[in-house]
Symmetry: D5
Subunit: 116 residues, 10 copies
């Protein structure tokens, strides 16, 4: 059970590229590790985007998010990284990624990143 | 019980075409099939529009939504399709359709489409 | 108990006509009849306005809303009608009326009308 | 539109009379008149029962509740009356009726009646 | 405007004395004065009772509650007092009074009294 | 896409038959047809049980629930039917099934059935 | 206990007059009398302001609000009056007062006033 | 500002010792220190009791709770301690204390203690 | 970062073994793997117990829960396992463990286990 | 346990200085003392900022907030002070601090400060 799931994001053609419209995805099952302590962190990820030529395939997104499970990642860096990977795969017209982390040390953190 | 309900959207004349006003409809009973797996998908549909000469008749809208029950439909395509059909029938001044799908593979999806 | 309550809207002078301010009224007890089936419809009415020279007297508003109890009225028409009557009685600087109807045929309807 | 709907409650045979089970119905659209002032009262009705030989048919229940629309009725009396009528029609093993009235004079009233 | 409203609780005959049933009343508009500081206290009152021969008339209950507006009253004493007065007037089969006071000194207080 | 999914409920051995414990399952995606009108009905199903020798396998439960999609079924009958089928497959120590149907004709219905 | 509390609003110097910032105050304990019927009215007051040279001292605000307890006051007039008094005492850069009154005659009223 | 507030709990005579009734107090402002790390802990305290001869005076309860601000205290021990102190001061017929602590290390803790 | 955290549960002496009282712990950060698919599962764990001679030390509980992160575990088995481990370590007077898993295949599962 | 925790805010380099993005932090565990009465005040702090070259390290922020525990601080002044300290340490592109204080004297206060 130790293989890292594929980080490749699959896409399918946007069925309506002639129109700007928004897709919102919420994944409450994101977990990675704190690079300082090695302890697990948990977050709900929210992605909003206006597709151009491609939409993200949900199963590959699920595997992509799962691939962070055994990796050390700072809150700010991993949120930017996910946006960068999604932008690289989809070239969306607009996109935002919000990572809403569970409380650590009495502080609740949310990071929200936009493209462009 | 296997006949597909009519997809024809009926209309009635807007009682106040001289004024821009908004009608909001929420239908929590939309279901179609996943084109990949054949499994049922479920969504709440939300329609907002500013009517021009016509308003949509509610019973025909109910039958229209019901007509997708046995059809395969991707999230993004079916939301755009419903907007297109409503725009064709009503020629509204403005309209949006939001389809809020139940969780699949740990991911909750909402698609929101606007006209014009 | 069969007399229709008065539809006359009473007013009182705005105590601060020199200033734009907003009054918001919510009446969860509106009922009329469906003109097609004769069956009762139920709604919560929300009125927001910026008064000019007059404010609406609450008791007369209550009687006014009650006067629709035995009348057939389509959702869109009755919401526009209530705005028209209130505008005629109050000549407000701005006003909106929102009628939030209980579910019919699995569809929840809200109509929102603005003046001017 | 002035005919009083039928007060006759229709029933259908309980499909599982060999087992005690509970049916809960909630109707947010009950209205009658205050016998003192003639003004409308509004309530949400909640019926819970364990059927014996009969279940209540929903459409006839809807018409039954509608039949109070033009009648004067005290909160306590009408709740007991509805329980009595339902017990007479269904002879249930157990039943309760709860009527949850909107605020009058700053006081919110609920009446809950049980059989037996 | 300084007359104390009547403290007399009026009643009407219970329309169903042959059956035990419950009446629940909630009044969010109770206010009295703190006997130590003279400052106003505010509470929501909740009364639940099973009537015997009499039910409380709502308008007289409203006036009764209003009669405490200018009186000094400790939380515990006033809640017991209201139960005593209601029991004296109604002789109910069972009754409870709950007074839910707004925060004072960072502490939120609820007093709940039962008869018998 | 018209094949009815299998109605066979699969099971796996209870990992702790020596202890009474409860499993609660909630499936918000149940739909069947109204036997009178042929129109779709929608419900959330809640199953609670104390397993004896067997637990229900979730994927087969999903297919089982899906198998009602094209069948006419009265609220009361289908809830009893689902309990009977689950009891036949699992022989649980205790079980309840609750079906919480969306509003029809202004009335919201819940049916709750227990075994034994 | 019949002395009217002081209506004088005390202030203290704004600790950061060089910066625009917002202070929001919510007081759920406002009560006055209806000038028509003499009956008590209850409201939650919400004040938002950007201070200039002065901030309002909370204890004096509490006494100020308390001073309306025995006074007749229409909803619209008293909300404007409170804004006027606070503006006179504080000369804020911006201020709003919202009074959210409990239901009267089935209608819930909110009045919201802004300066300038 | 470093003096520890008085830990003495003051009481006043129960105005109705002839009747069992319940007083519920909620104080969301409890803080003490973790004896291991010296870091602050925060809790909401809930006290429910049936008074015998004495009720607790609220201001002294507030000071009593405040007295733990600079003290090290384990969750379980401090909750038992507060119950013991209140029982010693009030000799109530029944009492419970619930301490609802904010999350530490991803775990939310509640301790609930009863007397007798 | 691949070492499995210690599964040893540490305890400390119950500060009040002379009294039955309840400790409730909620940990929203439990994750393990599905033994069939290898995919991650997520749950909120709730533990309630009445300690006898020992209480569980929170940090060791956190590490214990974390130790399941890379292990395959069926819902029913892992919940029973956690109860068994906690009972073995603490010998509590009473204990329950509830595992509330995120939706899989449209079905939300909760497993609740009690000792004794 | 009486040493004041360090007020020094530590930072780490922004992993994505090339992009404007937002970090939101919520700390429900802020407490200081009222400079007039010496009594404790409690607040939830919310910080939102767009980092430039530095992000705030969470543990140092926790210690920084803790450092106010034994200090007298007016609501308005301490909120401005926290913003000033964070701006001095981080030089963010944009920042706001909101302090949401628990009720004092029946009034709930929120102070919200922005930079620039």
């Amino acid at each position: 059970m130790s293989t890292r799931p594929s980080r490749a994001l699959e896409t399918f053609p946007n069925p309506n590229p002639g129109r700007d419209y928004e897709i919102r995805l919420e994944a409450p099952e994101f977990t990675c590790l704190c690079p300082k302590t090695g302890q697990p962190d948990f977050a709900t990820l929210r992605v909003r985007y206006v597709p151009d030529q491609y939409c993200v395939e949900l199963k590959s997104l699920k595997l992509y998010l799962w691939s962070f499970r055994d990796e050390g990642a700072f809150h700010e860096a991993v949120t930017n990284r996910i946006l960068d990977d999604l932008v690289a795969a989809l070239a969306p017209r607009r996109m935002s990624v919000e990572a809403d982390f569970l409380v650590r040390g009495g502080i609740h953190t949310v990071v929200e990143v936009h493209h462009p």
